[in-house]
Symmetry: C2
Subunit: 316 residues, 2 copies
């Protein structure tokens, strides 16, 4: 049974007491430099510093007590792990996060700071899944997948729903980064199935160096093998099955951004909005900067997905 806009509305009511209604921000200087009107949804200011708090909170508050007693488990290179650890703490249940050993230190620290157990694995999807499977066999913990999960998709969709509520007038395009596809698929349902906004285009943005969603979208065949090397550490995964299906049905396009553009966009956001965004969050603006003619004169809402990064390893 597919996720519906009603699921997203229920998720919104469920998580509202625990998350921030993050503000929209604009910059005339950024608008002038790209030739379109951008409205930024600052999910970097969300709990745990990323939109992932939405999905994890929705998942944890959807589980029954018997399940909660067995604890939850996931694999994550960062923000979903921190989000699940944070939500598990709210629900007073145990949480285990399988993390690739090369995850950013700051993201390992965040998971630990919310009291979760961390199990390190090799930096491959195969190792992540094998470790999780072994732990579930031993402990019977509940898997909360980082993106290929209905509650997660519905939770992530609440960011787009909130944007629609906060806007004074509609946008032409809503844009999010795409990694595993939780945010993009949830946003696509929130916008395309919304009674008033079906004319808004929904577009994903992906690093050129991790273009599995772009390739899958073009061919209609989901790419499951990929060894991306991008600074956008949140977008290194490949699309989930549920996510791919929703994206194929509802998303209007996937745009790419080079590593250089991602760094340039990130710096522009820091300088002009005075907020910290992580590289993944800068990918939509980078994609616009790469093909500005495609967005000329448009009104575009962009989800700034997160703000967690290592201040000792900035890319400039």
């Amino acid at each position: 049974m597919d996720v519906t806009i009603a699921d997203i509305e229920r998720a919104q009511a469920r998580i509202q007491p625990y998350i921030h209604r993050t503000p929209l921000m604009t910059s005339q200087l950024i608008n002038r430099s790209v030739g379109c009107e951008l409205i930024f949804k600052t999910e970097n200011l969300q709990k745990i510093g990323a939109f992932k708090a939405r999905g994890a909170c929705n998942a944890l508050f959807s589980l029954n007590n018997a399940t909660l007693e067995r604890g939850v488990i996931t694999h994550s290179s960062g923000n979903h792990g921190a989000a699940l650890a944070w939500a598990a703490q709210l629900r007073q249940t145990a949480c285990c996060v399988v993390m690739p050993c090369n995850a950013p230190e700051v993201k390992k620290d965040a998971v630990a700071s919310y009291g979760a157990e961390i199990v390190f694995c090799e930096p491959s999807m195969a190792s992540r899944e094998a470790n999780v499977a072994a732990l579930i066999a031993a402990r019977r913990s509940e898997l909360v997948h980082p993106y290929d999960d209905d509650h997660i998709i519905a939770g992530q969709g609440t960011a787009a729903l909130e944007i629609l509520e906060q806007l004074d007038r509609p946008v032409d395009i809503l844009m999010t980064p795409v990694g595993g596809g939780g945010l993009l698929s949830g946003s696509a349902i929130a916008v395309k199935d919304h009674k008033n906004r079906a004319s808004t285009l929904v577009i994903g943005a992906e690093p050129e160096a991790a273009d599995d969603a772009w390739r899958g979208f073009k061919t209609g065949i989901r790419v499951t093998e990929s060894t991306p090397c991008t600074i956008a550490d949140g977008l290194r995964g490949t699309l989930g099955e549920r996510n791919f299906k929703i994206i194929m049905h509802r998303v209007d396009g996937i745009f790419l951004a080079s590593e250089t553009r991602i760094i340039e966009a990130m710096r522009l956001l820091w300088t002009r909005l005075k907020i910290l965004v992580e590289p993944s969050a800068a990918v939509p603006l980078a994609a616009i900067m790469q093909q500005p003619e495609k967005f000329s004169g448009k009104r575009v809402a962009i989800v700034l997905s997160g703000g967690n990064l290592d201040l000792d390893a900035l890319p400039w």
Copy 2:
């Protein structure tokens, strides 16, 4: 005639169409680490990236047309210059900013980006004032002093007034950085002369390496000579005459912060709030971290004064 709370209320009405009502932010993790409850007024998200937009806007919109025709002039190491240039652009009048040659590049660029003329001088108050005097003699432009000016003081006081309006319940202490004293003196009038909040303490925070306000406050004699060497480039000036008088009458204390603490506090704010603050803005939190026992259990509002800094020269 001294600045009154009525002047601050008038300033608020005057500048409201042009400035942002910046949000308050909190962080449970910061609160836990310092043992008190902190509420941050994010003036780093203000127009031009600093509270200085308030005073400059109030000053420019208080000048009559005959004066505006002659243009405005000031001296500034950074944010006031950018603010005046920005406000002059709104008022379509010429603006000249005398800047010390060692001002941060990013602040020089900001002044230039708002279309002002820049005249460089030696990095001393004497050189700044001599250059301004010569230009005024030649051009008859109107001086808008960065802090020793009634309209500037009233404008800067609007940030504190806004905090009082935004708070759900009173704070024990309101804290701002102190350099020339525009923000601290305006805030002191806004709080101490407010009908409901006279019991709130008003405290200034200053770098140990630029402690002229602290020394003047202790002895009652204004310090006018100082060659500070602090990372907090916005606080290198000495207190103005009007500012000193207001501060002596209304401020409850000045606290100091070491350079190490300032950098530590700045990094904590970046990491936890996900926003960029410049070193000067981190001085109040640094002062609390230096003497946490003085603030234990208190509810404290802090003005994060600005977010303009060179991303290529971060202090960590």
